[in-house]
């Protein structure tokens, strides 16, 4: 009888996610414009990607993105969480503010940064330029566009990590810390040898999630630069989206989606393994 309880969730999930996912993998081996009958072309979509300069730029950008997000926000989150642990008083207030950008729509945050900060006309950037500072709009330069987008996502994201790390740090048994304090161990040593090892599972999990999410990044890129200028900030997800809906090359889009999923798959395996420990209670 209890099987029936699962039907709604699984039915919706299979129809919306599983079947289309299988179709996407199949479509990667077809040429299709979304309307006419798909034509089987074997590995041609993948061969075309292999010799496509934009594909390699996008893949490189995703890897750079992963590198940035595996280091900077995790360091910032850990640092702030540790400082909150030291401060104690007011930590809830700081936490809530750091978390605030996470609850605002990405489309809105992107426009605020674009218009109020980066824009050489209406933004803080333009004001600095008029005052004589040699600042640039990072989104308009091929060499800085990706970093300009990453900055917005970093700003929006690090507070979430801080809150998670702070929650984990507070779970560390007080006796361990107290004992170390009584022994006269310095704060940095406590951090290095007690606190960080204690929350290491949380840090690992966040790193796995970072890898997964880094290959899914879409909103900020799509809204801030559309992958430009000159495809310099293209990532795999925007490349796939543009291929499918602007160029009507659905087969190529499917091939890119398969590549994204391959990177995700490895991280997902780690993710499920990390989560699986929880189910052995």
């Amino acid at each position: 009888m209890y099987r029936l309880y699962l039907v709604p969730t699984l039915l919706i999930n299979v129809v919306i996610i599983f079947i289309p996912a299988v179709l996407t993998i199949a479509l990667a081996f077809f040429r299709w414009d979304g309307i006419t009958t798909p034509v089987f072309i074997g590995l041609q979509n993948f061969q075309a990607l292999w010799s496509d300069r934009v594909f390699w730029t996008a893949l490189t950008n995703n890897l750079i993105w992963t590198g940035i997000f595996l280091t900077i926000p995790i360091f910032m989150g850990l640092l702030a969480a540790t400082l909150l642990l030291i401060a104690r008083r007011g930590s809830m207030f700081f936490q809530v503010i750091y978390f605030l950008p996470m609850i605002i729509a990405t489309a809105i945050l992107a426009r605020v940064w674009q218009g109020m900060i980066y824009s050489p006309v209406s933004g803080v950037n333009g004001m600095l330029q008029r005052m004589g500072f040699p600042t640039i709009d990072p989104l308009s330069q091929p060499s800085t566009a990706l970093l300009g987008i990453a900055t917005v996502d970093l700003w929006h994201w690090w507070g979430f990590l801080c809150v998670i790390f702070f929650a984990a740090l507070r779970q560390v048994p007080q006796e361990q810390i107290e004992f170390a304090r009584l022994e006269g161990v310095s704060f940095w040593k406590i951090l290095r040898y007690v606190l960080i090892p204690a929350i290491w599972p949380t840090i690992t999990l966040m790193m796995i999630m970072t890898v997964i999410w880094s290959f899914l990044v879409f909103d900020f890129v799509y809204i801030l630069t559309q992958g430009g200028p000159a495809f310099s900030s293209e990532v795999l997800s925007t490349l796939a989206y543009r291929s499918a809906f602007y160029d009507l090359a659905v087969g190529k889009a499917a091939a890119v989606a398969v590549v994204i999923s391959l990177f995700g798959l490895v991280a997902t395996a780690f993710y499920i393994r990390a989560q699986a420990k929880e189910f052995h209670q």
Binding site: L6, G90, G115, W155
Partner: protein, 281 residues
């Protein structure tokens, strides 16, 4: 009161700690402050100096934003879409979470791992066949169809979160009800559901937030002016060339304000729910 160990007694360290935490606070709030400040300024003054205090308060920014973004229509669309998604996710996920938490079926492990796996599936892996399939079935610009997509994407998260609430219920309670002659459906609806209602409220809040803010699916599947969400109409308004940034920031504030008010009132639920769903329960 729980005894808490002071990590650092040194006054200078504490001052440094609060300084760093405050700098992070200012960086976090700076773009949000620009949003609020410039929502009441005339466009000409924003171009002069986005940081300056308003010379004149242009409250009509809000009325013009409301008109131009057609919020009386698009806000209603967002409310309907969000409410439908919340109802669908909460009903289907509580059923599934109960069965999985209580291990009512033998294949609970496979189902759990399958759902965990789909939380990390890139949207692009199922987006393209789904779009062209929905187009063929005439489901583009259909709010309920989009609510179903949201349900598929968000329900694994909801299941994992609710699962922890069901796990916390003592088995004896369930057994006692069964001995009293309640059938399995009565046990679920009359005994279990009332106990996990705080969890369902948390799920409702977070799913509501995600649906309200969502961009990629909404902009792809709801393009018609009759059906688009508030976030998408904001995106279109802010993408026009003759941009009045005062009006755009006013539109942004209209979308963000209800979310921020809810967040401030129910911060603990939001933070625990969002952090708990992606980490462990």
């Amino acid at each position: 009161m729980k005894h808490e160990v002071k990590l650092v007694e040194n006054r200078a360290t504490l001052i440094l700690t609060y300084t760093v935490l405050s700098i992070a606070l200012i960086i976090t709030l700076f773009p949000i402050a620009l949003l609020v400040l410039n929502s009441v300024k005339p466009a000409a003054q924003i171009v002069q100096n986005p940081l300056a205090w308003p010379e004149t308060f242009r409250w009509d920014n809000f009325t013009r934003a409301w008109e131009d973004a057609r919020f009386s229509q698009t806000m209603l669309n967002s409310v309907i879409l969000t409410a439908t998604t919340i109802v669908l996710v909460c009903t289907t996920s509580s059923l599934t979470a109960y069965v999985l938490a209580r291990r009512k079926i033998e294949s609970w492990k496979i189902v759990t791992f399958y759902l965990l796996g789909t939380t990390t599936a890139p949207i692009q892996l199922f987006l393209f066949p789904l779009y062209f399939g929905f187009a063929k079935l005439g489901l583009i610009n259909n709010t309920f169809a989009v609510a179903l997509i949201y349900t598929a994407i968000f329900s694994p998260f909801a299941v994992m979160l609710l699962r922890t609430y069901f796990l916390a219920i003592p088995r004896e309670l369930e057994e006692a009800a069964q001995i009293d002659g309640a059938n399995h459906w009565q046990v679920f609806t009359k005994v279990m559901l009332p106990i996990v209602s705080p969890g369902i409220l948390t799920v409702a809040l977070i799913i509501g937030l995600y649906s309200w803010n969502e961009f990629l699916i909404a902009t792809t599947f709801l393009q018609g002016s009759e059906n688009m969400t508030a976030v998408v109409s904001f995106f279109l308004l802010s993408g026009q060339y003759s941009s009045d940034w005062g009006e755009i920031m006013a539109a942004a504030l209209i979308i963000v304000l209800p979310v921020v008010v809810l967040f401030v009132l129910l911060q603990r639920r939001f933070i625990e729910g969002m952090a708990g769903g992606s980490v462990k329960g």
